[in-house]
Structure formats: structure tokens, C-alpha cells
């Protein structure tokens, strides 16, 4: 029971993180290695904005909520401008994007380490305290994260299904050449899609910041989670990402509960290494010549 509840709570966050990664990969065939860094940026930005709004690290729930919203917006701006800058300077070949993204991760980690040090930074939650759910004490902030995640996923789904810009992105995903013929420039869509993905990742980072110790290497795990979710459940499907994120979160929670917290860190790694070994021609393998 504990495993189920804690796992499902974690699932919301994982889905929120992974769906953006899956969106960018599914529509534009770019595996964005900066994605984990967006989660980290969101978490630290939440700290930054809450301190700026309240004048101190210890803030009320309403201020914390404002800080979280600003943090998500700031992360979206970071993601959008990074990929816009890549476009403007003509660094759009797959290898350049890959190389600059990897270097970018290391640079952002160094910036964070220089400003905040390697010590954990604490962030005030939007909702303080805990609640009993079916005999398990759950931090109320984590309870809030799950509906926020679901609402964001629903909004994303609505955007993709019912708005013109969402249609344009799906058109590119379907057939990039066809989309180009009707006047949608696939290259131009990248920064926008990454901006949306960064918003969701930043939101996840900011919402979960209170329940984890922030450190400059916290970008790695969300990146692996996103990738594992895509390996597991395919790409580009909003609800598919939610389903496979739930599976991954439950697997991690169960491993942590029945075995050890340290062993749980291997779950995502194993999904990536073994999953891709067993299904090399599956989700990613079949399109390997495009995935670069």
C-alpha cells in the first residue's frame, strides 16, 4: 500500500518531467540532453524567486506558489532561448546540438555550483506539513504535485489536439516534408517545443524542490528518467508517457521499499541499458537513422 501511494505520487512528477522530453523527441526527433538540466534550473529558480519575493528563505505558501510559477516560466525562457541561440548561430546539425547540449549541462552545473555550492539548498513548500492517506503519512506538498502534474498534462494534450500551434507541431511530427510544403518550417518549431518542454520540466523541478536536497549534479537523474520513460513507453504520446512514468516510478519505489534506496537508483539505468539491448529495433532502433 505504501509502495503504491508513494509510487503514484512520484509517477506524477516523472510524467511531468518525461512528457516534454518525449514531446521534443516524438515531434522533432531530437533527444534533448539538456532536459535534466531544465529540472535543475526549475528547482534552483524556485529557491531564487521565493527568496526574492519574501526577502527570506522561509516563506508562506502563497509566496512559494508564486515562486514556483515564476520558476517554471523562467525555465521555459532558458530552454527557448538556448535553442533559439543554436538556430541563430547555425548550430543545428544533430552532432553540434548534441555536443553543445552536453557542454551546456556541464556549464550550468558549474554555474549552480559556483552560486550555491555543493551543499543542499532547502526550498519552502507551497503546502507545509503532512496528511494521512490510507495509513501512510504523505507530505501535503507531494499530494499537491500530483494534481498539478495531471492538470498540466491535460493542458498539454488540449494544446496538441485543439490549437493551431499544437496542430503545426503534430504536422511536423507526422511528416516534416509535408509540413514544410504547407508552410510550417520544422526547424522553427524546435525552440518553441523545447520551451514548452522546459516549462513542464521546470514546473516539476520547482514543485519537488522542497522534498529533495538540491545539488549541482541533480540534472542527471531526471534526464535518465525521461529517457527510460521514452524507452519504456514510446514517444510523443502524452498519456503513454504518463503510463510508462507510472510503471517506472512504481518499480523504483518498490525497489527502494523492498531492497534499498541505493538499489533504486539502478532501475532507470537498467531500463536504459537492458531495455535498449532487448528491443534495439523497437521504439528507437527502427528509426535509428533519423535519431541522431
Amino acid at each position: 500500500m505504501e509502495v503504491l501511494i508513494l509510487g503514484l505520487l512520484r509517477a506524477g512528477t516523472y510524467a511531468l518531467i518525461a512528457v516534454g522530453f518525449s514531446l521534443v523527441f516524438g515531434s522533432l526527433r531530437v533527444l534533448n540532453l539538456m532536459h535534466g538540466t531544465f529540472v535543475m534550473v526549475g528547482a534552483y529558480a524556485a529557491h531564487l524567486f521565493i527568496v526574492a519575493l519574501a526577502g527570506k528563505a522561509d516563506a508562506s505558501g502563497a509566496v512559494a506558489a508564486g515562486g514556483v510559477a515564476l520558476a517554471a516560466a523562467a525555465t521555459a525562457l532558458v530552454g527557448w532561448s538556448f535553442f533559439k541561440a543554436l538556430q541563430l548561430t547555425g548550430r543545428t546539425s544533430p552532432r553540434d546540438v548534441l555536443a553543445i547540449s552536453v557542454a551546456g549541462n556541464l556549464l550550468v552545473a558549474q554555474v549552480v555550483q559556483f552560486v550555491y555550492g555543493t551543499e543542499g539548498v532547502n526550498v519552502n513548500p507551497v503546502l507545509a506539513g503532512g496528511t494521512m492517506v490510507a495509513g501512510v503519512v504523505v507530505p501535503r506538498n507531494d499530494l499537491l504535485t500530483a494534481p498539478v502534474a495531471l492538470l498540466s498534462l491535460a493542458a498539454l494534450w488540449y494544446w496538441l489536439q485543439h490549437t493551431r500551434s499544437g496542430w503545426a507541431l503534430r504536422a511536423v511530427a507526422d511528416d516534416a516534408e509535408g509540413a514544410a510544403l504547407v508552410g510550417i518550417a520544422p526547424g522553427q518549431k524546435l525552440a518553441g517545443a523545447v520551451g514548452v518542454a522546459a516549462f513542464l520540466a521546470g514546473l516539476a523541478g520547482a514543485m519537488t524542490a522542497p522534498s529533495q536536497a538540491l545539488s549541482p549534479d541533480m540534472w542527471i537523474h531526471p534526464l535518465l528518467v525521461s529517457f527510460a520513460v521514452v524507452v519504456f513507453g514510446g514517444s510523443g504520446k502524452t498519456w503513454g508517457a504518463l503510463a510508462s512514468a507510472s510503471l517506472l516510478a512504481l518499480a523504483e519505489t518498490a525497489t527502494a521499499w523492498y531492497w534499498s534506496e541505493a538499489a533504486a537508483q539502478y532501475v532507470a539505468l537498467l531500463v536504459i541499458i537492458v531495455g535498449l539491448l532487448v528491443f534495439p529495433t523497437g521504439l528507437l532502433g527502427a528509426r535509428r537513422h533519423d535519431v541522431r
Binding site: P94, A99, I100, F114, L224, A268, L276, R292
Partner: protein
């Protein structure tokens, strides 16, 4: 040997070897021969082996590995463990470590046979993190945060140590340059382009990629073993993502696929740039990574090819001036 083969040999192997030897000889001249200077020069050459072995596989196939410290870490811990637990002499411990590195390279070759691009990068990253996490999970064996200590230095005299590492560093560079100009090297390059064309031209892509990764692991493992012996310690840093990231940045800045470029970039960075930046204090890693990041953005092809273009540019300027 025919004249044509001699000329080819001179260009592909002789060039890098001469440049490497000149770099090695100039290190003590520029840095001095104090034990501290020789220590820095030795570490610089070990880093050169790290980056050039990264480039041997990645540069040829066009992949970007973010897990090179997997080879270095497994080899460093292999060496430290056989010395600390089994009492191996250095002459036996270093080759054992190198073999462990080669085995890691073989494993990565098998795991990533069908992966390319960002998938390759993420799988190498996952493998490296898996080993790095294991160091803490099995801290009884690996010593956790402290690592595994090696009691005695392998060579007492710093100058002799530098000379030994220098010989190995230049030797491995020539060996890799030779391999790259051989049939194996050309097949490795073919296996990284369009796989279907590679297979159609009769290149056994799977086997060649595995061999290439094994060679890369062997050289990285040799350097990792020497690094552990030199530091008299194998700790989590040798298997960490910071080292992987640094190797990636330096190799890219040196010149992706040029072998000599990554080798020289590591020597110049560790021996001179990092030393100069150390005066900045805490901001040093940020400035260093920032500079490397800018270099990759501005010159994706690397800096060494830029220098190679200089003479041509110079000649053209003079011709235009004469005209």
C-alpha cells in the same frame, strides 16, 4: 618499403609522433623540473591518453561518449585492488588494470552496437553512472568516498616517472595513429557513417565497432592504471561524471576525430591553462568549463584544425599582397 608507403607512413604516424615528442620535451623546459612541475606534466600526459583514446573510437565513428571514465575508473580500481589486496608488483598491476579497461571497452562495444547519436551518449552515460553508484553500494570492496589506497609509489624518482609516462603517452598516440591509418581504422570510420553502406561494402560493422571500443578501453585503461599508481589512490573521481565531462570537452575543443588534437588539447589545458586559472580560486572550474563551452560553440570542428588552416591563410595573404 616503397616510397609511396613511406610517405603515407610519415604523414599518418610520423607527424603525430614528432609533434607528441616535441610537446613532451618542451614540458620540462617550460614548466621546470621541480617535483611539482613534473607531477603536473605527468598528469597532463595521462589526460592526453584519456582524450586521445576517447577520440580513437568516438572521433572515427562520429559518436559522442559521455562515459569514458567508465574505462578509466574500472581500470584504476582494478589496479588499486590487485596491489592493495593481492600485493601485485607495479609491473603486473598496470597491465592487469589495462586489461580491465579493455574488458570494459569490449562490454561497452557490445552494449552500444546498435546505438548512435544521443542514444549512444545516454547509454554510455548510464553505464558510467552504474559503475560510479556501485562504488558506494559496495563500499566494503571499493572503499566508498575514500577509495582504495596504494601504499607505495611505483617509481620513486619524479623525473623517471615522467619519462616513463611520456614514453607510454607518445607510444600509445603513435600506435593509435597507425591503427587509424590501417584497414581497421578505415573500417571503423565506415562503421560510423551510414551503417547500411558500411555493411554493403563488406565491413563487418559489429565486429569492427567492438574491436574499436576495446582498443579505446585498453588505452584509457592503461592511462587509468598509471593514474591510480601515480596518485597512489583509486577513488570515485576516476570514475565520475566530472572526469567524463572534462574528457568530452577537451577532446571536442582539440578537434573531433583528429587524434592529435585531443591529445594536445589535454596537455595544453592541464599543464598550462588550468595552472594559470588556479589563481582565480573558487571561480576556476566555472571559467574553465565556460571557456571550453564557448570554444565548442564557436568552433565545432575544434581548435587544432584552425591552426592547421593558418599557414594556408598566411600564404594566401602574402600572395595577394605580392599581386
Amino acid at each position: 618499403m616503397s616510397a609511396r608507403r613511406l610517405a603515407k607512413w610519415r604523414a599518418s604516424v610520423g607527424g603525430p609522433t614528432v609533434v607528441g615528442a616535441v610537446a613532451v620535451l618542451s614540458l620540462p623546459l617550460l614548466l621546470g623540473t621541480s617535483p611539482y612541475a613534473l607531477d603536473i606534466a605527468t598528469v597532463a600526459l595521462l589526460f592526453a591518453m584519456f582524450t586521445s583514446s576517447w577520440d580513437f573510437f568516438c572521433g572515427a565513428t562520429g559518436e559522442l561518449s559521455f562515459g569514458h571514465s567508465f574505462f578509466i575508473g574500472t581500470a584504476a580500481f582494478g589496479t588499486a585492488l590487485v596491489v592493495a589486496r593481492l600485493g601485485f608488483p607495479p609491473g603486473l598491476a598496470i597491465p592487469s588494470g589495462a586489461l580491465v579497461g579493455a574488458a570494459s571497452g569490449f562490454l561497452i562495444g557490445l552494449l552500444t552496437l546498435r546505438h548512435s547519436g544521443a542514444v549512444f551518449t545516454l547509454v554510455t552515460m548510464a553505464a558510467q553512472l552504474g559503475f560510479h553508484r556501485s562504488l558506494f553500494l559496495w563500499s566494503d570492496l571499493f572503499g566508498g568516498e575514500e577509495g582504495v589506497l596504494i601504499g607505495t609509489p611505483w617509481i620513486q624518482d619524479p623525473m623517471a616517472r615522467f619519462a616513463t609516462v611520456a614514453t607510454i603517452a607518445v607510444g600509445s598516440l603513435s600506435a593509435m595513429a597507425w591503427l587509424r591509418s590501417s584497414t581497421l581504422g578505415r573500417q571503423l570510420r565506415a562503421s560510423g557513417g551510414d551503417v547500411r553502406i558500411g555493411l554493403a561494402s563488406g565491413v563487418p560493422v559489429s565486429r569492427i565497432r567492438t574491436i574499436g571500443s576495446t582498443v579505446s578501453g585498453l588505452v584509457a585503461g592503461l592511462a587509468g592504471s598509471l593514474y591510480a599508481m601515480h596518485q597512489m589512490l583509486a577513488n570515485q573521481e576516476a570514475a565520475g561524471d566530472t572526469l567524463s565531462g572534462m574528457i568530452f570537452l577537451l577532446a571536442m575543443v582539440g578537434g573531433f576525430g583528429t587524434l592529435l588534437g585531443p591529445w594536445l588539447a589535454a596537455v595544453v589545458y592541464v599543464a598550462f591553462v588550468r595552472e594559470a586559472l588556479l589563481g582565480l580560486g573558487e571561480v576556476e572550474p566555472l571559467v574553465a568549463v565556460g571557456l571550453l563551452f564557448l570554444a565548442i560553440w564557436v568552433a565545432p570542428g575544434g581548435t587544432v584544425p584552425l591552426f592547421r588552416r593558418l599557414p594556408r591563410w598566411w600564404r594566401r595573404e602574402r600572395q595577394e599582397a605580392a599581386a
